[in-house]
């Protein structure tokens, strides 16, 4: 059976897990982010064409032949599932959209601090911004309730796709921090997601998990923000203070909060304020700091 996977950066772990869960399957997998050019789209289409099942995170129209309705005509069955996103551990992390459709890159790649951005736009110095990373501010911005909110949002989203997430969420929560970042799950999360998707598509019998299965965590060395101490205490998980810029030797490639803020400010200074103001949830920070 050929199961094509055209997904987010989570494609590899999802595909590897599906390959192990569905004996005899062939699972070519691609990252949608690599399919922005017509050449790349044609190349990927060539590999996915004729799939018995095609799992996609949903390709918009600009992806040409990979756009869901178009691609549906080139495979036997196309199923869309959302890429996993969960900000309960990283409620301050935000993407800053740019006019060209990409997002702003900073010291931790696409991930920025909403508080840092709000502080910058409000005229705080980096040192003054550092003071804001406390429980009172987190509470007022709703960060302390983010875990419950994100859990509810994620459960609701997946329910729309026929996947019941409640039990899986409890399993993940029991293991502590289960996200490297807002859109980078740990490997055991992706194994469970693969099980849920496989069950939904009738590739596995209902019931049971695949705790025997371990897939390589190819997202662990990517940039990430820490679960900041005020929130970590609230969630009963281990807090960190290092902002990982990516790469091996995590300790060496991590910035303190002060270093991170200085680098964030440098990234912000290169952009006009009106561009930066497009970040999601910024209004609440600006109001708090006004």
């Amino acid at each position: 059976m050929k199961i094509g996977v055209l997904f987010s950066c989570q494609h590899a772990m999802l595909a590897h897990a599906l390959r192990a869960l569905v004996p005899g399957s062939h699972v070519p997998h691609y990252d949608l982010a690599d399919c922005r050019t017509p050449e790349a789209q044609q190349e990927v289409l060539r590999h996915l064409e004729g799939s018995d099942i095609l799992i996609t995170a949903g390709a918009p129209e600009e992806f040409g032949p990979l756009h869901d309705p178009v691609l549906a005509g080139r495979v036997k069955a196309l199923h869309q599932f959302p890429s996993l996103s969960f900000g309960g551990f990283h409620p301050d992390t935000v993407h800053i959209p740019l006019p060209d459709g990409h997002t702003l890159h900073g010291p931790t790649g696409q991930y920025h601090s909403r508080l840092a951005l709000g502080a910058y736009l409000s005229g705080f110095s980096p040192g003054e911004a550092e003071l804001l990373f406390n429980r009172r501010v987190f509470s007022r911005l709703g960060y302390l309730g983010a875990f419950a909110l994100e859990s509810a949002l994620m459960t609701r989203l997946y329910a729309d796709y026929g996947i019941e997430l409640t039990e899986a969420l409890e399993r993940w929560r029991a293991r502590g921090v289960f996200m490297h970042s807002v859109n980078h799950p740990l490997n055991f999360v992706m194994v469970d997601m693969a099980v849920l998707v496989a069950r939904r598509l009738g590739l596995m019998q209902p019931g049971g998990w695949a705790d025997w299965l371990v897939v390589e965590d190819n997202l662990r060395l990517h940039p990430r923000h820490p679960v900041l101490p005020p929130l970590a205490r609230e969630l009963g998980v281990e807090g960190e203070t290092g902002f990982h810029i990516g790469g091996p030797r995590v300790a060496e490639n991590s910035l303190s909060l002060g270093q991170f803020l200085a680098a964030e400010y440098a990234a912000f200074q290169a952009r006009p304020h009106e561009v930066l103001r497009g970040a999601e949830g910024l209004d609440a920070v600006m109001t708090l700091l006004a």
């Binding site: 982010a33 959302p82 790649g109 909110l149 807002v182 949830g281 708090l288």
Partner: protein, 351 residues
């Protein structure tokens, strides 16, 4: 049969003659037993006017865990939990906590003394050598405020001593520990105006302070005291005795109101022990203003008896409500939009 005498079955400590008997035997113990005890491992922070320093010193000497999050060899030697110096008014404490959380940035930044050195308007006498530049003041202040934030987050108990209602406010509204003119400040200070906080204002400041402190640290217990040390001077056009009485009455009443309104607040009547007619004759030192060492010892003995123990019994923070969150359409839309963001990171992977 007539109505029963309403005082007949009351416990002895409700009657003055009992208090007088206690006084004859030593010092009255007016403390209503608190519902918790502080153990040696419980982190206790102190702040407030001069009398708070006695409490800090006593805790330290008794082997209790006086929480200190900031020290500096250049600062005057005093047992402060962080280097804020004396915090005389409820407004000053409220503003300090807000500044420590980055949520208030007063306009008053740095003052230049007659000797050319710069000082922090919020602790102008704490560093006798002052600072070279206003930037150095600002830098030291950021470290200081971070230490105050840690203090308020980590303390299990905060002992806060209210000292004054008379204050000087900077043009930005900041409550200053001393007006700039007292120090001969030559540059950097706005024109401070005198303000005598009313009962209503102190109550409102304490209400806000308690609510905000519990926001930072939901398990925190606050022991409020009123400093028995009289005003050194009044700026009101009346005798200092009258101002002192009014000021202490306002603070005492406001402390009582705070204890009534906030379950986390306990009032410790050190003020009553030192200033009542039943206080020992040697309650004050020879200057008739400073509390004598002997009296401080007695007050702290009563404090120990009621608040300190070999095993603490501070209640844990109340559990946060676990009700399912209400989801707004905006939150749902933002979440779904985030789920569809494509990650460019893999192409940046250096491994």
């Amino acid at each position: 049969m007539g109505a029963p005498h309403p005082y007949r079955r009351l416990p002895p400590q409700r009657f003055w003659r009992h208090a007088a008997r206690e006084a004859a035997e030593g010092v009255p113990d007016p403390v209503t037993p608190p519902d918790f005890r502080i153990g040696p491992d419980d982190a206790v922070a102190t702040a407030g006017s001069c009398f708070a320093q006695h409490i800090a010193a006593h805790l330290k000497a008794g082997g209790f865990n006086l929480l200190v999050t900031e020290t500096d060899a250049g600062a005057v030697e005093a047992p402060f939990s962080a280097l804020y110096g004396n915090v005389y008014t409820a407004r000053q404490m409220l503003q300090l906590a807000r500044r420590a959380h980055g949520l208030w940035r007063p306009g008053e930044q740095a003052w230049r003394r007659p000797d050319g050195r710069w000082v922090d308007p919020f602790r102008p006498q704490l560093f006798p050598a002052g600072f070279e530049t206003p930037e150095a003041v600002a830098s030291a202040r950021l470290s200081h405020l971070a230490a105050v934030e840690r203090l308020l987050a980590e303390a299990r108990v905060l002992v806060l001593t209210l000292g004054l209602t008379e204050a000087w406010l900077a043009p930005c509204g900041a409550a200053l520990p001393v007006p700039p003119g007292v120090l001969g400040i030559e540059e950097g200070a706005g024109e401070a105006r005198f303000h005598n906080f009313t009962f209503e204002e102190v109550v409102a400041d304490l209400d806000a302070l308690m609510e905000e402190l519990l926001e930072d640290n939901p398990g925190l217990r606050v022991i409020l005291t009123v400093s028995p040390v009289p005003l050194v001077a009044t700026y009101e056009a009346r005798h200092v005795l009258e101002s002192n009485t009014l000021s202490k009455a306002v603070l005492r009443a406001a402390a009582g109101r705070a204890a009534d309104r906030h379950a986390a607040v306990t009032y410790f009547p050190s003020f009553e022990m030192v200033t009542s007619p039943l206080a020992p004759a040697d309650a004050f030192a020879a200057d008739r203003r400073s509390v004598s060492d002997a009296m401080v010892g007695r007050v702290m003995g009563v404090f120990s008896r009621h608040f300190l123990a070999e095993r603490g019994s501070l209640p844990n923070a109340p559990a946060a409500p676990s009700a399912a969150p209400d989801i707004t359409p905006e939150q749902e839309a933002a979440f779904r939009a985030r789920s569809s963001i494509l990650c460019d990171e893999e192409r940046l992977d250096p491994s």
